[in-house]
Symmetry: D2
Subunit: 143 residues, 4 copies
């Protein structure tokens, strides 16, 4: 069986709150498993903003993007329509080429979902990998 290991959430984890939409549910009455990727994406963007990086401006000014290259998710308990969820996000590892964002999603004190999302950095025009720029590194490792 596939395995992955999540780090523990540090005190510096960023918390993003959202409410589950009707459109996010499926006929089993729970949030469709694909929708968690949208929740995690919004949480990462807000984490970067809180740390001083406006991701929209970053793409426009640099012509770079941070595409997802790997995703690992464990579904612990289903989220449901109208639930208020808290997504705690932090950077668990970083190299010149990649950043690993870990996250835990909670409904109140209940852990619903754990994940690890790996992003790279590419030049959008040529789809060529580049080193993670300093302004991104800074936003990922706040002091």
């Amino acid at each position: 069986l596939a395995r992955f290991k999540l780090s523990s959430a540090p005190a510096s984890a960023a918390r993003y709150r959202l409410r589950v939409g009707y459109v996010d549910t499926d006929k089993a009455g729970v949030v469709h498993h694909s929708r968690y990727l949208a929740y995690l994406e919004a949480a990462r963007i807000e984490m970067l903003r809180a740390n001083g990086l406006d991701y929209r401006a970053f793409e426009v000014e640099t012509g770079l993007a941070l595409p997802i290259v790997e995703v690992h998710m464990a579904y612990r308990s289903p989220a449901r329509f109208d639930d208020v969820l808290d997504v705690d996000t932090w950077v668990s590892a970083m190299s010149r080429a990649k950043i690993v964002f870990d996250a835990k999603i909670f409904r109140g004190k209940d852990l619903l979902h754990e994940s690890s999302v790996v992003v790279a950095c590419v030049n959008m025009d040529e789809a060529r990998p580049v080193s993670i720029p300093d302004r991104v590194v800074s936003a990922c490792a706040p002091r």
Copy 2:
């Protein structure tokens, strides 16, 4: 960094063909990373159908469902609008409680995406885990 190991596609892998929709793309001009989960889901359902299991009838007749409990995905190369993709799916492992569906997504001969999706079996009314029924086991291990 998180790691996972994919099995090699056996000769018995089921092939599902789809065309990428405009709605599947994002502003980077490629398929959004969350959409692959929809492609994989459709491919699993068609694989089960080809092996004799009508998944819709299964849910209705048994009150059971096969929720996703773990997902691992590696994005090798981006898919784009209007691409014709082939999703090869097979069962790489099975226990009394879980089934692991591995998949490779190709555009022609180019490998774009690899994944491993773990499903459990639950009673939908009580959200209680149950053993994988024989009819599902049979559809996952065709001779």
Copy 3:
């Protein structure tokens, strides 16, 4: 050409604020036209909540739902990634069987989108239309 007429927003219109996600965009660099329906849905649910109707509890307690039966939308100007949008929603007409929710979506002072969404009321078990219950009527016509 198809035509529809929107009412003017009354002072009692409910305002719902959201931020556009990356997942909401398409390869044209703007919000995909289908995503506005998700924005409008969230705005209706928050409008009902503000007027005293918890829509989730309503479905559970009554076995009823408010399915969409008609949608009319006019796209005035595109929304983009990371935009903050305000959705103003109000009830423009009501009968025993149907409610018409009108909405205007703004980015700051710029009008981006106008819509009219007609819902009916059905018994979920039998998919049978029923009269709009008083608690819904009250939440739609606040004094």
Copy 4:
């Protein structure tokens, strides 16, 4: 109440067949109302292809796009998971600036959904409206 009038399907309507995915459903057990826009979009693209216009190549070669400017939809009967649907699409009106695509969605002989979608033509770089090019006009009015 908002009103719109659909033309009757001509013999030349293009038929596009699809199967409803699990991801398309919501907690009411039916296809979410927003997903029909994705079905209609795929049907339009296939209609254009059948009439000699490769829409992907068109965007690349001309820098133009056909954004949606108006949508009208009537939901007659719900579609469900795993249903096979037929989307009949045709052009009901055309001007120098706009094309109106009408569609009816069937499950077997049952009419589930009727719609009218108005598209314009824009220069993607400047988001400036332009006249519908001849190659698009030809693909919309096949003899």
